[in-house]
């Protein structure tokens, strides 16, 4: 049973790390501000969430898991809100999006 939980937790941890890495690559490689923000926001929320779930499995039924659960709860709110605020600020500062001429 312990080894099953261990394996599950490692799957979550490495999955989360992979998402964070992909998000970081996206932030460096994408062409304009909004696409970069998109890469970071989606991958960060998911990646951090997966890492926390992995850590919760490691923590077992203890106070640590409760604290991690609270962190998870807060991250689900603060991450998207921060990105929303950034995008809003960029929009108000007339940051141009890179638009394809043939697109909608």
């Amino acid at each position: 049973m312990d080894s099953v939980i261990d394996v599950l937790s490692w799957i979550f941890l490495s999955g989360g790390a992979a998402f964070l890495l992909i998000g970081a690559i996206g932030a460096l490689r994408f062409p304009d501000f909004y696409t970069r923000l998109h890469a970071v926001s989606v991958c960060d929320t998911l990646g951090a969430g997966l890492v926390l779930v992995g850590l919760m499995l490691q923590g077992g039924l203890s106070l640590v898991t409760v604290k991690l659960l609270l962190m998870f709860y807060f991250l689900m709110f603060t991450g998207p809100t921060a990105v929303h605020a950034l995008a809003q600020a960029a929009w108000q500062a007339k940051q141009q999006a890179l638009v394809d001429d043939h697109g909608p």
Binding site: F77, T81, H84, A85, Q88
Partner: protein, 320 residues
């Protein structure tokens, strides 16, 4: 493994330091200093100094970033081009750095238990503190009890900083309840701010009163408390925040905190002890110590929260 984490964190710290020197946009520099503080906080956690890490994260990464951004908003966000050659400063920096590195040669090895720092009073504190003060967190008992004079000095420094900012920046009362037009449709931000505001205050109280048992204490709690109100002011406008906590109230609280701290010291003198000798405060010495620590931490928290908010009000009220 531990060394690997140390090396990665230190390398990131160095990279951030170089980036700060290199950047010309002051807005980016302010954000980078925040990242620098967060990395330092992580480093402190690795070094098992959780209390310091909490302080660094709350003050360095949190509130000082906001104050720096407020300063940038007041002044300019471009660095001025230097008018002289960087040769002389570079020489000074290299010479100082070389002298410092030369100085480390004589220092005891990293984590050496026989070094003077660990031999002087630290071992006594570590052994006797829980029994003498009844406080499980040794950091709190050292900070509040054994080194109470130093902490009183620190709180007075913060108090003086608050007075300095008030004297330099002055202060204008905000009568306007409305926020500026472009802030009004930030509904997501406002809902989240309203949702988190009570939780932040609750967490501040937890850090304040749980400081005896875990990491935390007056300094961290005061800053977190102030952060809650700053978040409120950011989302709902300074005028609304000031209807809850007025400038006048902050001025009083700022002094009340220091007075509580010093008052505990004088009270212990009146009861026949030395200044800040908490043993005499209650019938039982351990209970007295516990009570004294609780009271002075409360004083620290009140002063720190009030000063942080006064500095924030001072900076931002000049803007609009």
């Amino acid at each position: 493994m531990q060394y690997l984490i140390d090396i990665i964190l230190l390398a990131l710290l160095m990279t951030t330091g170089f980036a700060i020197v290199h950047m010309k946009s002051l807005l980016a520099v302010a954000m980078l200093t925040s990242i620098y503080s967060l990395l330092s906080a992580a480093l402190f956690v690795v070094l098992d100094a959780v209390d310091v890490a909490l302080t660094e994260a709350a003050i360095g990464a949190g509130i000082s970033t906001i104050l720096m951004l407020a300063t940038v908003a007041l002044t300019t966000d471009r660095e001025k081009e230097p008018r002289h050659t960087p040769l002389l400063p570079l020489l000074v920096v290299i010479a100082t750095g070389a002298a410092l590195i030369y100085g480390t040669v004589d220092m005891p090895h990293y984590g050496d238990p026989s070094s003077p720092v660990h031999q002087h009073v630290a071992s006594t504190y570590l052994q006797d503190a829980p029994a003498e003060t009844g406080v499980p967190n040794v950091v709190t008992s050292v900070l509040a009890s054994y080194r109470g004079y130093d902490t009183l000095g620190e709180v007075t420094v913060i108090f003086t900083a608050g007075i300095g900012v008030m004297a330099l920046l002055g202060y204008r009362i905000h009568r306007r309840k409305m926020v500026r037009e472009e802030m009004r449709h930030l509904i997501v931000l406002r809902v989240i701010a309203k949702l988190f505001f009570p939780l932040i205050l609750l967490f501040a109280l937890y850090v304040q009163f749980h400081g005896d048992y875990g990491p935390g204490g007056g300094f961290q709690a005061g800053v977190i408390f102030a952060t809650g109100f700053i978040l409120y002011a950011l989302a709902f406008g300074l005028g609304n925040a000031q209807r809850v906590i007025t400038h006048r109230l902050l001025q009083i609280m700022m002094a009340v905190g220091v007075l509580i701290f010093a008052g505990v010291g004088i009270e212990s003198m009146l009861l026949g002890g030395h200044f800040l000798e908490y043993r005499v405060l209650a019938g039982d010495p351990v209970a007295g110590q516990h009570l004294g620590i609780l009271l002075i931490e409360l004083g620290v928290g009140i002063t720190v929260a009030a000063v942080m908010l006064i500095i924030y009000y001072g900076f931002v009220s000049r803007r609009d």
